[in-house]
């Protein structure tokens, strides 16, 4: 019934959460959560409201410090000792639930800011795009279907386009692991489908963890699913397996 965690093989484990507990005023948002993601994997994480999905992202990216437990990335690096910028520079990119782009910058400048490279203050002062970097921006613009909108202000984009721009910014960062929080929220069916295709394309060359509510979207991703409930893992497996899991049904439909 419940998935039993095999001890992960260290050489191909990219991310390993070990017994992570976070409480807010006595409420345990994460309760001994253990989870691992293998390099190159596309993983979907689902769960009802309050299951701890976003808190899990916050812990991995350094926004929230766990009370207990450890988070290892790429072998031995303990992420719980680092801050957001250090973790981002290790190669973990994050897309927020609510699309978060720089609204008063153009689409092009949003991508330029995300471009992998030195984040030093003085390097930024004298920074000039090289031809290679321009080509990379063009390539990402193409990937997220925003080539025609490159000179528009990000604040003037539609909701779906902002989501894509944010995914594009993750691609510019070229992280090893992408954490994507509800990418299909507020999208039309056509946009949802396009987004799923985009993420599958990205997952060919990156490890991706997607948190999502939308079952159609999860089905379109066609990948390994982890169900969170009350801050720990309830079930893991293919979407069909977890959907037929009695505990999962109870959690989602109520007892």
């Amino acid at each position: 019934m419940t998935h039993v965690h095999a001890k992960p093989e260290t050489h191909d484990t990219l991310l390993y959460l070990d017994g992570v507990t976070v409480s807010f005023d006595g409420f345990k948002a994460l309760n001994g959560l253990s989870l691992y993601v293998i390099a190159g994997e596309l993983r979907a994480i689902i769960g009802p409201n309050g299951a701890g999905k976003t808190t899990m992202m916050d812990v991995i990216t350094g926004k929230t410090r766990p009370d207990l437990g450890e988070v290892f990335f790429n072998g031995g690096t303990d992420l719980t000792k680092l801050d957001e910028a250090q973790i981002a520079n290790l190669g973990i990119g994050r897309k927020f639930q609510k699309p978060t782009v720089f609204e008063s910058h153009t689409v092009y400048h949003n991508l330029e800011l995300a471009l992998a490279g030195s984040r030093n203050v003085f390097a930024s002062l004298i920074f000039r795009l090289t031809g290679e970097q321009k080509a990379r921006i063009d390539h990402v613009l193409e990937t997220v279907s925003l080539t025609a909108d490159r000179h528009r202000l990000a604040g003037n984009l539609s909701h779906g386009q902002k989501q894509w721009l944010e995914i594009g910014m993750l691609l510019m960062q070229d992280p090893e692991l992408l954490l994507v929080d509800e990418p299909a929220a507020g999208m039309t069916d056509a946009e949802t489908e396009q987004t799923a295709a985009l993420l599958k394309e990205i997952a060919r060359s990156h490890s991706v963890v997607v948190v999502e509510h939308d079952m159609t979207f999860i089905r379109a991703l066609d990948t390994h699913v982890t169900v969170l409930h009350e801050g720990s893992v309830l079930a893991e497996g293919s979407l069909d397996t977890v959907q037929n899991n009695q505990q999962v049904i109870e959690v989602y439909l109520g007892r």
Partner: protein
């Protein structure tokens, strides 16, 4: 790389406001000396010396407003204590000017300034050493505000103090400095401050030529300050600053150390404010602890809001307009001034939140945005 326009042309490209600002300030730097020194006093075109110094004072305020716009308009750091950096720059020059008096003071004491003789002090405090040399004083003009801003920013930004809380502690900083400088035993002239200056670099501070020289120096400092700010905001660093202003956590998750960026721009801004204060003191002839008053710092923010924050030249325009208005009103209807200032701030916040330049830019940009919106196919 292609042979594009020169670096200066690139900076003002696409910003007519920047070009107009540079031309006007440079024009004033050439025209005002001619109209004061060459045109005879009887002529209708003659600019009297008091007016030269008044305009010089306004340009100092313009430079000060610029420093606040750099952090507030571009990085969202609302400092309500920038008057402190201005005053510190002013005190550094004031100390030099006081040492220049030498034995010509009321008490004729060659080693001690008048106020120390009056307080019955026997020797010069150690922190007055060096101020009889202009280069040392000039160094202190940038070093003291810069170091204070660095220490303040180091703790505040590292602890992620932002928004209203940061504004309040900047206000507390300037208030604390005001109380400290009011004390006689601080050794900065207490309540009276530093005044009765005689020479600067050996030139009589009251002479027309010196006054004109100070005006020209101020105009050049404003041009340099403006260009420094332009270089910063039009670089990738400037785009990171705007990113921090609009979506701080997104900037962090992209891997930028937000505290370092804020610290850098805060220190640059404090140094610019210090230079403004240093040019202000010889032109008005006095520096006292009143310059640290919290109300002064709030007034700077109003200049920037009126002119249009996040535009740089808007800040300068706002400083000039509001101060002209202030000079006019405080002589015509002195009791009305504070009400007018408050009303102006409320009016701008309610009816012109982008300020003068921001509103002009919005009107110019409207056609372009409307065209963009028509092209846009919004789904669902």
């Amino acid at each position: 790389m292609t042979h594009g326009p020169g670096p200066l042309a690139r900076l003002v490209a696409g910003s007519p406001g920047a070009l107009i600002t540079l031309v006007l300030v440079m024009g004033a730097a050439v025209l005002v000396p001619v109209l004061n020194l060459v045109v005879p006093a009887g002529s209708a075109f003659h600019v009297p010396t008091y007016l030269v110094s008044l305009m010089g004072k306004y340009l100092c305020y313009g430079l000060l407003a610029l420093s606040v716009d750099l952090i507030w308009g571009f990085c969202g750091i609302l400092s309500l204590g920038h008057g402190a950096f201005f005053a510190l720059g002013g005190y550094a020059v004031g100390m030099y000017l006081l040492r220049e008096i030498g034995a010509r003071g009321v008490y004729g004491n060659a080693t001690l300034p008048d106020f120390m003789v009056f307080l019955n002090w026997k020797e010069l405090p150690w922190y007055w050493y060096g101020f009889d040399h202009f280069p040392f004083a000039a160094l202190m003009v940038v070093a003291v505000p810069g170091l204070l801003a660095f220490a303040f920013g180091w703790f505040a930004f590292r602890s992620r103090v932002s928004g209203v809380y940061l504004s309040i502690i900047t206000q507390a900083m300037t208030f604390a400095l005001m109380l400290a400088f009011f004390r006689n035993d601080m050794g900065f002239g207490g309540n009276n401050g530093l005044t009765d200056f005689k020479d600067i670099l050996g030139f009589n501070i009251q002479s027309d030529a010196t006054r004109v020289g100070l005006f020209v120096a101020t105009a050049l400092a404003l041009v340099c300050g403006y260009l420094v700010c332009r270089v910063i905001v039009s670089s990738r660093l400037g785009r990171v600053l705007i990113g921090i202003r609009d979506a701080e956590s997104r900037t962090r998750f992209l891997g930028y150390r937000v505290e370092n960026y804020k610290l850098f721009v805060f220190v640059v801004s404090a140094v610019i404010a210090g230079v403004a204060g240093a040019l202000y003191v010889p032109q008005v002839g006095i520096i006292n602890p009143g310059e640290f008053a919290p109300a002064n710092s709030i007034e700077i923010v109003i200049w920037v809001a009126v002119g249009g924050r996040g535009t740089l030249h808007g800040a300068i325009l706002g400083a000039l307009l509001v101060n002209y208005f202030k000079s006019y009103l405080t002589s015509a209807l002195p009791e009305v001034w504070l009400f007018a200032l408050g009303g102006l701030f409320i009016g701008v916040t309610l009816f012109m939140p982008k300020g003068i330049i921001g509103s002009v830019n919005a009107i110019i940009g409207k056609g372009r945005v409307a065209a963009g919106a028509r092209r846009r196919v919004s789904p669902g």
